[in-house]
């Protein structure tokens, strides 16, 4: 009798303890488009997740799912995460946009954060980084350093974020090297090392001596290294294992402060739907070390441009700029507004080829 009542008491205490624990712990979920070891995009998001764990310790529990395909399967993965009791879910690729909004409407008490998209809801925020600021720095270095005047660009999907990057890099390469030509390959994948390497090789074989990439793996870096006289830039992550050559600089996404702030907001109950678009100034976009493979004067100019953007004195899309078809876009001194940038679906003047529709 005593034993049974003791056990019942213990069980009740345990039950109370776990439910109390469950209330204290904020569960944060992450949906990734690639594996966490891709060395690029997903790797940086996962660093953000680890920073959340570090910052909140026992008060937070994080879960993630890797390599979730964009499309119908994403809804399943996000739903599952919401059903598991996540309080806050970050969906970290453009292609999860509709799935995120769709699942969010069924779970009004769960907060959702979608990266690089533009659809919001009362419980869906969007956040992105102004990667095009980093592209401007890349374009400048690329334009200065190319000897064949051909710059290869491995693009992923024809979405505004990618098109902004191409335009920004081209504008700044052209400004310092009027003869520069961009060759763009649409890989239609975020992560496929073999295909990315093939694309880099095809561009190099056609004369490109600078490779810019908007895909997530380090494969183009390895392909450039094999080809020797080619330079590259780290994408999303520093990719410093390929420095000082071929990787001469990089764009680094730093999601940690944002992830920590948003988790804190959920804990405080102060979370509300926002549209965040931060750049170099706020620290969400970082420029990786410019190596000695870049001449000192080019490096100094690149850093000056970075500082000007950090200080808010320079915007990469400053007129006069025309669209590819020759029509006017921005007048002298005019700066592109965020709305146009967010939905950018055109090339600037001088770029060849069409954007796949």
């Amino acid at each position: 009798m005593k034993l049974t009542s003791f056990l019942t008491g213990a069980a009740m205490a345990l039950g109370l303890a776990t439910s109390a624990l469950a209330q204290d712990i904020t569960k944060v979920g992450f949906i990734y488009v690639g594996p966490i070891g891709d060395g690029g995009w997903t790797y940086e998001h996962d660093k953000g997740r680890l920073a959340v764990e570090e910052a909140f310790g026992d008060k937070v529990e994080t879960v993630y799912q890797e390599s979730v395909p964009e499309g119908a399967d994403a809804s399943r993965a996000i739903t599952q995460m919401a059903l598991q009791g996540a309080d806050l879910i970050f969906t970290t690729s453009f292609g999860y946009m509709d799935a995120t909004v769709g699942v969010a409407s069924k779970f009004p008490d769960v907060k959702f954060e979608h990266a690089t998209g533009y659809k919001t809801a009362p419980n869906v925020s969007v956040y992105s980084a102004r990667f095009y600021e980093g592209r401007a720095v890349q374009g400048h270095i690329a334009g200065k350093m190319t000897e064949t005047n051909i710059i290869g660009y491995i693009a992923s999907f024809p979405i505004p974020e990618v098109i902004r990057g191409i335009n920004s890099a081209y504008i700044h390469a052209k400004r310092v090297n009027p003869d520069v030509q961009f060759k763009v390959i649409w890989a239609y994948t975020w992560f496929n090392p073999a295909k990315e390497a093939d694309a880099a090789t095809a561009l190099i074989e056609q004369g490109a001596d600078v490779i810019l990439q908007h895909t997530d793996s380090t494969a183009p870096q390895a392909a450039a290294e094999k080809a020797e006289n080619v330079i590259t830039f780290g994408q999303a992550s520093d990719m410093s294992e390929y420095a000082p050559h071929p990787r001469v600089s990089s764009i680094i996404d730093n999601w940690a402060p944002y992830y920590i702030a948003r988790t804190q907001a959920v804990m405080d109950g102060s979370w509300e739907s926002v549209n965040t678009w931060d750049g170099i100034r706020e620290g969400m976009v970082g420029i990786g070390e410019i190596t000695d493979a870049v001449p000192a004067d080019v490096k100094a100019e690149a850093l000056a441009m970075k500082d000007a953007m950090a200080a808010g004195e320079y915007h990469p899309f400053t007129g006069p700029l025309k669209k590819q078809d020759g029509s006017d876009w921005l007048a002298e001194g005019e700066v592109a507004d965020d709305g146009t940038l967010a939905g950018m679906n055109f090339y600037v003047e001088g770029l060849e080829g069409d954007i796949p529709q």
Binding site: G34, P35, I36, G37, D38, G39, E66, S67, G152, P158, K183, V184, I185, W186, Y188, T189, F191, N192, P193, A194, K195, A197, D198, A199, T201, A202, L203, E205, Q206, G207, A208, S217, T218, A219, A222, A223, E225, K226, M239, E241, Y242, E352, G353, D354, P356, Q357
Partner: protein, 306 residues
């Protein structure tokens, strides 16, 4: 549009490189399927081979040892599949899918410390005179040995299936395992060897990606190549020669479409992107409109009592 910027010599040379991983993996799967075993774990065995080969090549500095280790790694993983399907009589489709998931996970675990490391370069064939020939030199005589190994393997498998007693037994087991069993052939043993061969080939194909084609280790780096190899076997109607053709078509059009894009050809990119899949399937389906069909016992569980 500037087609002159595409160099046909370099294009043909890259075609062979792009085709090799799926070629080797597909020829291994072909042998397994001809023995009546449908192993959907090719992707998992490839990625396991990719990391096994990468680790050993980095640690020993020898790409050759790396490839051997990749074959062993792939074969070991395939033995897990053999254990489940041949001895525990589990469903082949489910076991194969499980093998892929397991392989992806175990390779990610093994590869933890190997991200961002460069493997030792795989030497390329360099025959004086022959390798210096214009056009033919770069296209035919200046690849790494695995490219030639892949082609030789196809020839060997073709000859084995067509002309040897071992090939006949393998096919008999795949067509009707009960009859083969009644004739006294060891169905389980034959299938065990076929699965092991398939695993070793998949491992080699994976290591070709991590050691030569990319070359680096990244989680999930095979990115679906195993599934393409699987599809290739079906569309090649289980014939070795057609697997070679299919792999070259697929690899060739993949490289060609990237080159066409870079050259700015006025074909919509969407069509270019789907062209490798579309054309390969189309050609092989048209070719298989003869009476070729799947091995009759493909995917069926064998038990000596039956």
């Amino acid at each position: 549009m500037d087609l002159s910027s595409i160099n046909p010599t370099l294009l043909l040379a890259s075609l062979l490189v792009a085709a090799t991983p799926i070629l080797i993996a597909a020829i291994g799967e072909l042998v397994a399927e001809r023995s009546g075993v449908l192993n959907l774990g090719v992707e998992g065995m490839m990625i396991t081979g990719a990391i096994c080969g990468f680790i050993i090549a980095v640690e020993t500095g020898s790409p050759l040892l790396g490839f051997i280790a990749a074959a062993i790694g792939g074969a070991l993983l395939s033995m897990l599949f053999a254990l489940l399907t041949l001895f525990a009589l589990a469903n082949q489709v489910a076991s194969g899918l499980a093998l892929t998931l397991f392989g992806l996970g175990v390779s990610a675990l093994m590869g933890q410390g190997y991200v961002g490391i460069k493997p030792p370069p795989t030497p390329k064939l360099d025959i004086p005179l022959l390798s210096d020939l214009p056009f033919f030199g770069p296209v035919l005589f200046s690849h790494d040995l695995m490219v030639y190994f892949g082609i030789a393997l196809v020839a060997a498998v073709w000859a084995m299936l067509k002309y040897t007693r071992a090939g006949l037994i393998l096919r008999a087991v795949g067509e009707n395992h009960d009859a083969a069993h009644a004739l006294g052939y060891k169905v389980v043993r034959v299938r065990l060897m076929a699965i092991g061969f398939g695993g070793a080939c998949a491992g080699l194909g994976g290591a070709y990606i991590s050691l030569v084609r990319v070359p680096q280790w990244t989680e999930g780096m095979t990115a679906g190549a195993g599934w393409i190899a699987l599809a290739l076997v079906v569309f090649a109607s289980w014939k070795a020669g057609r697997v070679l053709l299919g792999a070259w078509l697929f690899g060739g059009i993949t490289v060609l479409q990237l080159n066409l894009q870079a050259a700015g050809v006025a074909i919509p990119v969407e069509y270019l992107s789907m062209s490798p899949y579309l054309i390969t399937i189309l050609v092989l389906v048209i070719m298989s409109s003869d009476r070729s069909r799947a091995p009759a016992s493909l995917g069926r569980i064998f038990h000596a009592s039956g």
